[in-house]
Amino acid sequence: MAKLAAVVGIGQTHYKTRRGDVSIAGLVREAAVNALEDAGLGWDDIEAVIIGKAPDMFEGVIMPEIYLTDALGCNGKPMLRVHTAGSVGGSTALVAASHVQSGMFKRVLTVTFEKQSESNAMWALSTPQPFSVHLNAGAGGYFAPIIREYMRRSGAPYDVGIKVAVKDRLHGARNPLAHLQLPEITMKEVEDSMMLWDPIRFLEACPSSDGACAMVICSEDLVAESPKPPAWIRGVAMRSEPTMYAGREEVSPQAGRDCAADVYRQAGITDPRRDLDCAEVYVPFSWYEPMWLENLGFAPEGEGWKLTMSGATSLDEGGDIPWNCSGGVLSSNPIGASGMIRFAEAARQVRGDAGAHQVEGARLALGHAYGGGAQFFAMWVVGADKP
């Protein structure tokens, strides 16, 4: 039986196009120091460090975790790197949580980052291989046909993605850490933006950001030593499946459905739309909101877009289940950290510490990340109430 664990510190950097003023070490350090300060702790209070980032080829630094030990105060302590592509921010948080839930560690620091301004994430993501045609696709090129299939099946109107793009940027405008600050964005502006990978327009895609996110996770008996309210970890789940196999359901992957069912069961959630107060879900391309609304059980199959269009997921429209109040991946995308930002922002909500993007009275929130060809899933449910 897992022991209780909680998030007692959260630290983020401002997400920006370029942080040329710091090294990679300086970037991760900033988030880590912010998390320790938030938790009222110092380096000596931390027993282990769990770090995550996207594949090494993105920044061209092989095993950067090795050179980051000084910056993260883990000389002489266990350090572990997690690799699960775009979901790595989420799975890194879960590996850190499991260190505490196992009873082996009392306090763990977990950090994720990406410095996209110095990287080559777009092309390192889809490398040419001998004997194959190189698609030069990038992430958007991979997901666009899957989105088109969703549109065909669901009969969703063409502007659902446009609505999500606007909604998440308006959320992001409430969050001073968000990379994109577009408080005046309109549906027309999104619709008129360049078509990158049909049906994904420029403003329906995530930005490229520099940034880092960190959390301190501790055991039940040490929670009171940190000054701010904890976010109790109520459920944790990871699932994976191959990128391709005959008959794979790519629009609503089985691994995502199974992962959600597992995390809901642990947290006692039977109807996620009703039981959760908000969710931070990995939506790097606008149409993934309606798709994940269905995959995660917030709406019946084929009807996720109706929630989006009704304003149910919008904080500004007073929706009953706001998604990505922080602005989401569509507003900030330091790839390796993006999943952890979802997890951390879910925790901020239930700590009542989300500032201008706070969902009033939030008690239970979902953090979600996916990666690879939508084949790695990581989720947690955090709550204000101790289970």
Binding site: G20, D21, V22, S23, A25, R29, D70, L72, P130
Partner: protein
């Protein structure tokens, strides 16, 4: 039945990147451009060259820069008898750990010498600057024995 051809093909994969050095390593490199060498003082008082951003013992951020000498002594070395194309020298030389005057830890660089027998632990060396300094570690062309 005929054996099928088993195909293989070499391929190259390459990307371009940028790297920001940050305030500590950046200071060291811009120092080299000005033909000066900076270390940093650690929590235990040692002067570390090249400087580190964070203290190896306490993890605190370090910011007390200390200029060190352009002469020092060889701590240890490895003689390269037949340099290859990618080596920094085209005649025989040594990779060496050199403790600069005022520093408490050695740094690795190369030393020119007429023969391996001229090298010794404790032998004094001095910096030879490159003709043009640009803020690279190669601004230090090499070290040479003093009095050679």
């Amino acid at each position: 039945m005929a054996q099928p051809d088993v195909l293989s093909q070499a391929f190259e994969l390459g990307f371009t990147y940028t790297r920001s050095t940050g305030p500590v390593v950046g200071r060291f490199l811009t120092g080299l451009r000005d033909r000066r060498i900076f270390g940093i003082r650690a929590s235990d008082g040692r002067v570390i060259v090249p400087p580190m951003e964070y203290d190896p013992a306490t993890a605190e951020a370090l910011d007390e820069f200390v200029e060190v000498g352009q002469q020092g002594e060889i701590v240890s070395w490895c003689w390269v008898k037949q340099p290859r194309a990618s080596h920094p020298m085209d005649t025989a030389f040594a990779w060496a750990m050199i403790r600069l005057d005022g520093a408490d830890v050695p740094m690795i660089h190369c030393v020119t010498a007429a023969a391996e027998e001229d090298l010794a632990t404790g032998a004094r060396v001095q910096v030879v600057w490159a003709a043009e300094t640009r803020g690279y570690i190669t601004d230090i062309r090499c070290f040479e024995l003093i009095g050679e």
